[in-house]
Symmetry: C2
Subunit: 443 residues, 2 copies
């Protein structure tokens, strides 16, 4: 094998990651916490395959593009919303048939497919949750992840403010469970925006949406002028990016609305907000009527969760009442997903990740030929739930203790040295060097 060959096989594609030691422990810890919250709210896990027929996904993707506001640009935000474009999906062919398969760019269409098939005779609502990876091709140089880990819920079969409020309350509880302070969830209602644009020329809607999405008020003014929108309407649309804040935004939105769709959206938002007050989570809630991502996919309440100090949203979701229909089941649905890596990033930034358990408790070092006692001690400690590695390389005490230190093992149990009796051992704290002589049977 050439040297070049060695380099090749050791290289990992961009946007992918291998998790070792505390990285994997953190990831597992976060995922377990999230699933525990979902389970406690009566959700049950669904595990879907990593790939399926491309058609299954393109049905959902087509939907998200149907009224697409800004095409590709909605992808590059790395949004949790299901607005991945088809050309970012990894495709390959099925053995024997040549049919196109795709790595899942999103789990929600798979759950929609399952709700419409395996679960079609189930009573409503369905409370389903998931935890898995999704795949999105990234261009060189963007630094984007190509494998994103997500956990989320879908509440299917219920078109009510209570259902939307439940998913938002779960999102808040997730962040509390993870110990992430400074969490805010910004809630919008996509129908408000759709209503506001309903009497605008379809050709102009995309441009207007893009400016509002970017909070580009001067660009917005230009377009509205060019489009010869009447002054009163212009003023209303220009207000949208500023409809952000606490409960008062509901009233501001109602004043801004000039059509039944937008007014209905505000009423719906108010009902959801009231339920969230009952849940006691209003301190974590903001209202953002200028939030318009996932325009084609979502049909009502939308929301995004942020943590102070983390630039991108940590979770996001909303109501998508038209997706399941694509799979032959006319069911309403609402849900959200958490970005696992952004959670880990938030924990690490705040130094809160340090407290996570991720090391081995004991290294058992026995210098005797017969390892019976070492095996017995290891077995007993494991039965108590301890994490125990045996030192099975011969290298002298110094070498073994260095190994324990480098591997971040908490304590060493030393047996079979000359100064110890047959039934004695020394327990050594690796970080401090503190030692305690004990009887082996006490271990």
């Amino acid at each position: 094998m050439t040297f070049c060959g060695v380099i090749n096989i050791m290289e990992i594609p961009r946007g992918l990651r291998t998790y070792i030691y505390e990285q994997s422990a953190r990831k597992r810890w976060v995922e377990e916490r999230l699933l525990n919250v979902f389970f406690r709210w009566g959700f049950q896990e669904i595990i879907t395959p990593a790939f399926e027929y491309l058609d299954t996904f393109s049905a959902g993707l087509a939907l998200s593009k149907a009224e697409g506001i800004n095409g590709e640009s909605s992808d590059s935000t790395g949004s949790l919303y299901s607005t991945v474009s088809l050309n970012r999906v990894f495709k390959f062919t099925e053995r024997g048939t040549g049919r196109l398969l795709a790595l899942r760019p999103d789990i929600t269409p798979q759950i929609a497919r399952t709700a419409a098939t395996l679960l079609k005779d189930s009573p409503m609502p369905l409370r389903l949750c998931y935890c898995g990876n999704v795949f999105r091709g990234a261009d060189p140089g963007t630094g984007e992840s190509q494998e994103v880990y997500q956990a989320g819920v879908e509440l299917i079969g219920l078109d009510s403010a209570e259902a939307d409020a439940e998913t938002i309350a779960i999102a808040v509880e997730c962040m509390k469970e993870l110990g992430l302070k400074g969490f805010k969830v910004a809630i919008g209602q996509i129908e408000f925006f759709k209503g506001m644009l309903s009497d605008i020329e379809p050709d102009m809607r995309g441009e207007i949406s893009l400016r509002i999405h970017k909070k580009d008020t001067s660009g917005l003014e230009d377009i509205l002028q060019r489009g010869k929108i009447r002054a009163e309407k212009r003023e209303r649309i220009k207000k949208i990016p500023s409809l952000f804040g606490g409960r008062e935004v509901i009233d501001m939105g109602r004043e801004t609305a000039d059509n039944p769709l937008s007014l209905g959206a505000i009423d719906n938002l108010e009902r959801v907000y009231r339920t969230l007050v009952s849940y006691g989570v209003e301190d974590s809630v903001l209202i953002d009527l200028g939030e318009i991502r996932g325009f084609g996919y979502y049909t009502g309440i939308i929301f995004e969760g942020f943590i102070k100090g983390i630039g991108s949203e940590i979770c996001g979701g909303g109501r998508y009442d038209n997706l399941l229909e694509r799979y032959g089941a006319k069911m309403t649905a609402t849900g959200f997903a958490v970005d696992i890596n952004r959670v880990i990033e938030a924990l690490e930034k705040r130094g809160e990740a340090e407290a996570l358990p991720c090391t081995t408790d004991y290294l058992v070092i026995d210098f005797r030929e017969d390892k019976k006692i070492a095996l017995e001690v290891s077995r007993r400690l494991r039965e108590k739930g301890c994490r125990v590695a045996r030192d099975i390389i011969k290298r002298g005490l110094e070498g073994s203790l260095q190994y324990a230190e480098k591997m971040n093992i908490k304590r060493a149990i030393i047996m079979g040295t000359e100064d110890l009796g047959e039934d004695e051992a020394v327990v050594r704290e690796i970080s401090t060097g503190e030692e305690k002589r004990v009887r082996i049977e006490e271990l």
Copy 2:
């Protein structure tokens, strides 16, 4: 959308599976049990990407083919051994570069790559474990899984019988932890077989191996006759398929061996066996010197675990001292993987899966407009760790109780009916219909 389109997007490719309700609960339960065993033995999790450059995998696959005994046919056994052929790997191209990517057919080469890169300065041994899915293209009609869930360990950097014995002891403990009785692990030593064939024409080795693998003794006799192997050697080779049983097989193997490599293999096997006796797991151990799968990949001890009543092996592994070298790190290694689905199958066959927790504890039904009390009760129960779904569809008591029954929810908490006081609730066992009136504050 045409009707045909609806059919297409609801179809799932062959050999893939969606896990719902108790299926996903069982899968998660099994994975958690296995990881807990690995952690207790001082192993730390490593999480590798679902795809990488094809080159990374083909380095490992090339190795497994290098001395390949039966090429394609070793695949069709669905073995846990790393003998997946390159044409069963799902391939696709990297965006922007066109380089070939592959869905991982095996996690071990990824761990080898990580040991040789991220972990190359780590002290030895490395104790790494994993839990994930691997992908193997299957031909139509074979019924084979295309996505296989595995959990396993790799013990890297130590070429000793103790290391091999440790991984085998872990495999036995895994099955105990899962409550799977009747588990037997069959241990072989591939060098024994390599030694026995060392003075046979290379051209004939493949045919002989295939017959031994299939325990086809008459076919084996034919080939040995045709190959004009001398009578004494013929008798020795013909014995190999019968070298299966308890400790006595070690002595039988020593008598059969006629070369230093095979004799060394027997000595090594004896040391591993003795260590397994120290571990107290000899009752679960068989010796099988006729086990020759993974011929090119493995370099010493190999083993497979079986459960009574399940046709295929439930776990398998062994020593692979040449793999890491391919990635530029000359390190020895031993490990094994458990097939999660076969574990689930074994649990289900024995009815042992029934006891697994997988249902929601309470459905909270409140007929009052103001849901404050229902939310408060739900919150309190969740804080205690209970799984609580709120009934948020209006459908009357009968409908709600039917929902609870169909969704396998254990109990209903009913509040706000006419015959109940403000501070009262009824707790109803769904399976028996038994009811108890309680004060809400007691819940």
